[in-house]
């Protein structure tokens, strides 16, 4: 456990020292919250979620936070994995008294800490600026969604990273897949408003599951369908996390 904690400390220290972090953590989502959101709210009428109508900025907030979590998993965790591999740090650490599992665990712990910290700050801001009405169950649901979403995103990307050792290919894959993933999710539209086959795509898009999880917590709306979505996502997350651990432990992860 000492090794895991030392590696977690390392991850967090690197995260706080990277100049790109403040931008990704706060400035980028703030532009959505403070500029695009209010502008879009004046253009787009309130959206119905279950039986409740909510302001458009409130509706898209879970989507913005989910995109932020995804970015954090990519930038702060996965990119450092590539950097570790490229610089020889991964090889060096594997020669130290720490296991691959400890390395992986520290990475998960660091990503979760980072996304929880980021979303907490933005959630507080949302409460002040947009007067989100939160309940204890809602907040617990929201942070469970943040933690599971982070585990899910990181697990998927770790599986890809064990197969793709070339960072350029990985970057190309991300650039190619990110926009369709975001725009075919329920980040910006309610699934009821989407035409077929987009509605079906949105329903199977993993991003939508995280967004709906956070949305349920943030808006405190729990219908039968949201509860099913949450339970399904929990099962999927555990399965993909297990697969990523196995893939990572089997891979030598060297360049």
């Amino acid at each position: 456990m000492n090794g895991t904690l030392a590696l977690f400390y390392r991850e967090m220290k690197i995260w706080t020292r990277r100049p790109v972090v403040p931008f990704l953590t706060f400035i980028s989502p703030l532009t959505y919250f403070l500029i695009f959101g209010p502008v879009l709210s004046t253009l787009i009428p309130p959206v119905k979620v279950g039986e409740v109508s909510v302001e458009y900025i409130v509706f898209i907030s879970p989507g913005i936070l989910t995109i932020l979590m995804l970015n954090t998993c990519i930038m702060s965790s996965l990119m450092t994995l590539f950097l570790d591999r490229r610089s020889g740090m991964f090889e060096f650490l594997m020669g130290c008294p720490v296991s691959k599992l400890a390395y992986l665990l520290a990475r998960f712990m660091a990503s979760i800490s980072q996304t929880v910290l980021q979303t907490s700050v933005l959630l507080l801001l949302g409460c002040v600026v947009f007067r989100f009405s939160l309940s204890l169950v809602g907040v617990l649901t929201f942070f469970t969604g943040v933690i599971l979403g982070t585990i899910f995103f990181l697990s998927v990307m770790l599986i890809i990273a064990t197969k793709i050792t070339d960072q350029d290919t990985f970057n190309a894959l991300l650039n190619f897949s990110m926009p369709p993933l975001i725009f075919t999710s329920t980040a910006f539209y309610s699934v009821q408003l989407l035409p077929e086959p987009l509605a079906t795509v949105a329903k199977v898009n993993p991003l939508s599951y995280v967004i709906e999880f956070l949305r349920a917590g943030l808006l405190n709306i729990f219908t039968d369908s949201t509860i099913f979505t949450i339970l399904f996502f929990i099962v999927i997350t555990f399965a993909i996390c297990l697969a990523s651990i196995i893939a990572f432990l089997r891979s030598e992860m060297l360049r």
Partner: protein, 314 residues
């Protein structure tokens, strides 16, 4: 007898290439063992298997008597590693942070960590770099930080992969001095290098690896004893092509007192006595060549290596 490091038939196969093929050797406690070979010979792959970073496809790597793949972290607690890549540092953090994190990973308590950090910063003369961000350092300075880091834990066994790569001559000599000094504490050092000078200066026993196979192993004296004599005349001839080298080689081989000729860029002539130099000069000029350079010297590890390399190419 339990060796500190023991490779038994190590093998590593990558797609289309056998990087390490049936490599076996052992390293005693308190010894500096050198694994010497050209780039791509399999040195780093061997070291990676010995440190448990990669799994061998065959054979077993024993460290302190235990299979490193199955050993728990207690064995790795006793070893230190300097990887080949000088960038293997936390680039966004300071030198101090790098050493501190490594100390934490090794489980050193804070006070002890600080004491040892101060000591290695002094030892490797990088105290003034303490607060510098590693990414702003030159490759040579990064290498010094890496080496300082490996010495932080006073490990029983150190694996050094091309340790002096990128170091200036002064820093290299300083490193050699430190390596020699830790031997008195009973530290064992496994060193890979392609620098003959480094291996000759430091190592008690040497294994030469080429294309994944150990081609010779023994003490420096034993390896040198495989050469025909202890005296060498190194000869460079102007304007000569490969075909005519053989012609000249044959002419020189027939000289009385000539014990062997090796061609590797220059001609390495193993002689009974340096007085043969006159005969050599005459043979070269009478064959229609011009001498560019002729040096007489004692044999070195490089001669052993070149002779082995030539044999393999033949």
């Amino acid at each position: 007898m339990t060796y500190v490091v023991e490779a038994r038939g190590l093998k590593k196969v990558y797609p289309n290439v056998t990087a390490v093929d049936n490599v076996s050797f052992s390293v005693d406690k308190g010894e500096i063992f050198g694994l010497l070979g050209p780039n791509g010979a399999g040195k780093t792959t061997t070291l990676r298997m010995l440190t448990g970073v990669i799994r061998p496809d065959g054979g077993v790597a024993l460290v302190m008597g235990e299979d490193i793949q199955k050993a728990d972290s207690k064995i790795k607690q006793r070893i230190g590693v300097v990887p080949q890549n000088e960038m293997a540092l936390e680039l966004f953090l300071t030198v101090q942070d790098n050493l501190d994190i490594y100390g934490k990973i090794r489980g050193l308590p804070k006070q002890e960590r600080l004491r040892r950090i101060g000591k290695v910063l002094e030892l490797f003369e990088i105290k003034d770099l303490e607060k510098r961000i590693v990414d702003t350092l030159s490759p040579g300075l990064m290498r010094r930080v890496q080496i300082a880091r490996a010495f932080l834990d006073e490990s029983e066994l150190l694996f050094l992969d091309e340790p002096s790569l990128g170091l200036d001559p002064y820093a290299r000599r300083k490193l050699w001095e430190v390596i020699r000094s830790v031997l008195s504490n009973g530290t064992t050092i496994f060193l890979t290098s392609h620098s003959m000078e480094e291996v000759e200066a430091l190592c008690l026993r040497i294994a030469i690896i080429d294309r994944g196979k150990i081609i010779t192993l023994g003490s420096l004296q034993r390896l040198k004893s495989t050469l025909p004599t202890t005296k060498v005349i190194e000869l460079s001839v102007a304007d000569i092509n490969e075909e005519r080298v053989s012609e000249l080689k044959n002419a020189l081989t027939n000289l009385s007192g000539m014990k062997g000729v090796c061609t590797a860029g220059a001609l390495f002539l193993y002689v009974e006595d340096y007085l043969i130099a006159d005969d050599i000069a005459r043979t070269v000029t009478s064959s229609g060549f011009r001498i560019a350079k002729m040096i007489s010297r004692e044999t070195t590890l490089e001669d052993v290596y070149l002779r082995l390399a030539e044999k393999r190419f033949e």
